[in-house]
């Protein structure tokens, strides 16, 4: 056990470099997936509020199904479905079949799942904006789009931020599930390092520590952002 810490060295007999590379791809996948999830969520929330019956029901099925089925099952389903669809399309347009790169596949599957959750967060936040503010914006002659970009969305953000911060933490932790599908990120790098050295306990502790640091740093960033967006609002609690 006394050489256990040598395993964490950054250069090759040690696996520290691999873990840090894994952490980097975890952060990349999480950032990409979070961004995709936010875009889907914003679109989904606007669609649920202003859309016609067909769009509303489609979105309702999307959010309900995604939120009722385990992430692990969804990740596998979406991965196979995505590659199949992409390859069918590519063949139709006369291109070669291809394998999706792990990074992009991870971003797409996790982002698609996160989209369902952030749809609900945004929808709740939109509903929390007092209707008087929207009417006031329209009354001074703003178009519907301008009223949204200038008033509704900025007023909605403080309500959405706690939920969004939570979703970011869930996203970073969900990326670990990609290890089960075989995408290279922190969890898989750790598994390989632990398997090669048999120092299971130490490597999983090290990975847990890295994830914990990511969470703690994220918490600081989000509390800063929240303070910024809450400026000018009455203090709550």
């Amino acid at each position: 056990m006394e050489n256990a810490f040598e395993y964490l060295a950054f250069s090759p007999p040690g696996w520290g470099g691999n873990l840090l590379r894994g952490l980097l791809s975890t952060i990349q996948i999480a950032l990409g997936a979070y961004a995709l999830g936010l875009m889907l969520g914003m679109g989904g929330a606007l669609g649920k509020i202003y859309g016609g019956p067909v769009l509303r029901w489609t979105l309702e099925i999307y959010t309900t199904l995604i939120r009722a089925v385990p992430e692990l099952v969804l990740i596998l389903l979406l991965y196979y479905l995505g590659t199949d669809l992409l390859n069918t399309m590519l063949e139709k347009f006369g291109y070669e079949r291809m394998d999706i790169d792990g990074l992009w596949a991870g971003i797409y599957v996790i982002g698609f799942v996160q989209g369902a959750y952030s749809t609900e967060v945004f929808r709740g936040a939109f509903n929390a904006v007092p209707s008087g503010q929207i009417e006031a914006a329209r009354a001074v002659g703003m178009s519907s789009i301008k009223a949204h970009t200038r008033v509704v969305i900025p007023a909605m953000l403080p309500f959405a931020l706690p939920g969004l911060a939570n979703l970011w933490l869930i996203t970073t932790k969900d990326t670990a599930l990609l290890a089960v599908v075989g995408f290279s990120e922190l969890a898989l790098e750790t598994k390989q390092a632990a398997g090669a050295t048999k120092a299971y306990f130490m490597f999983y502790m090290a990975a847990a520590f890295l994830y914990l640091m990511l969470t703690i740093v994220s918490n600081f960033v989000f509390s800063y952002i929240e303070r910024y967006y809450r400026r000018g609002q009455p203090v709550q609690g």
């Binding site: 199904l65 009722a68 089925v69 385990p70 992430e71 692990l72 099952v73 969804l74 596998l76 389903l77 196979y80 479905l81 933490l169 932790k173 969900d174 990326t175 670990a176 599930l177 290890a179 089960v180 969890a187 750790t190 598994k191 632990a194 048999k198 299971y200 306990f201 130490m202 490597f203 999983y204 502790m205 990975a207 847990a208 994830y211 914990l212 990511l214 969470t215 703690i216």
Partner: protein
């Protein structure tokens, strides 16, 4: 879509479903039993205990359950055989099996998340109610079980119900440490039949039903709870 494999594997899925339910119920039971003291010491406990509980909650909530599961099964599990004489002890059959490790990991996870929820819930019970309970002569333990805990649970029940559903959706992770619950059986079917979508869709449908049943069950429980709030009439 081909479903010819389904009748053959249906008994296995039933076993898997039973394992999923056992895992969920055990994790919730042990987890909540730990969550109550973890939440309580953060409100009333001595400083060091409160810090310990706080640190536990942060560590559990800040790391992926998959890593916790692997840490406990591969990490802690790999340390046991080095203890002399453990292979001959009565505990060994239990330590060799993956299911107890899954129960421990999921219980700790539930304890971490619910401990945090209960911390807020204990704090949210109005002081006057606790003072009233003490004033009519209840012992501290009786105050906890007759007034404080019931009132706290009542206030956060919807949150806790939501967390239990998240726990259900995390149970497939147990398949990664060879606990063959519903998702694990689905993996076996995929390997043996080379069908990609059908087993996954079937597994997804089972979880959809389980989630639905749980949601209805919690809604029923919630409707049974007395809701008397001062001023709300």
């Amino acid at each position: 879509m081909e479903w010819y494999w389904l009748p053959e594997y249906l008994p296995k899925f039933a076993e898997g479903l039973w394992l999923t339910i056992q895992l969920l119920v055990l994790a919730i039971t042990f987890g909540m039993a730990m969550a109550i003291p973890i939440g309580l010491v953060q409100v009333t406990g001595p400083r060091p205990l409160a810090w310990l509980a706080k640190g536990f909650c942060i560590s559990i909530r800040g790391t992926p359950l998959l890593i916790q599961l692997w840490l406990i099964y591969y990490g802690v599990g790999s340390l046991f055989p080095s203890i002399p004489g453990i292979r001959e002890s009565m505990l060994w059959p239990l330590l060799r099996d993956a299911f107890p490790y899954a129960v421990v990991a999921f219980s700790l996870s539930v304890a971490g998340y619910e401990g945090e929820v209960l911390r807020g819930a204990f704090r949210g019970v109005p002081k006057g109610e606790l003072e009233a309970a003490r004033a009519i002569g209840m012992s501290p333990l009786k105050v906890l079980f007759r007034v404080w805990l019931p009132r706290a649970l009542q206030n956060v029940f919807p949150t806790i119900a939501g967390e239990f559903i998240l726990t259900l959706k995390a149970t497939p992770l147990a398949a990664t440490i060879t606990v063959f619950e519903v998702y694990g059986i689905g993996t076996i079917v995929r390997q043996e039949t080379y069908r990609i979508y059908e087993p996954l869709l079937f597994v997804a449908a089972i979880y959809l039903c389980l989630t639905g049943v749980l949601v209805l069950f919690f809604r029923y429980l919630e409707s049974r709870m007395p809701r008397r709030m001062a001023g709300a009439g």
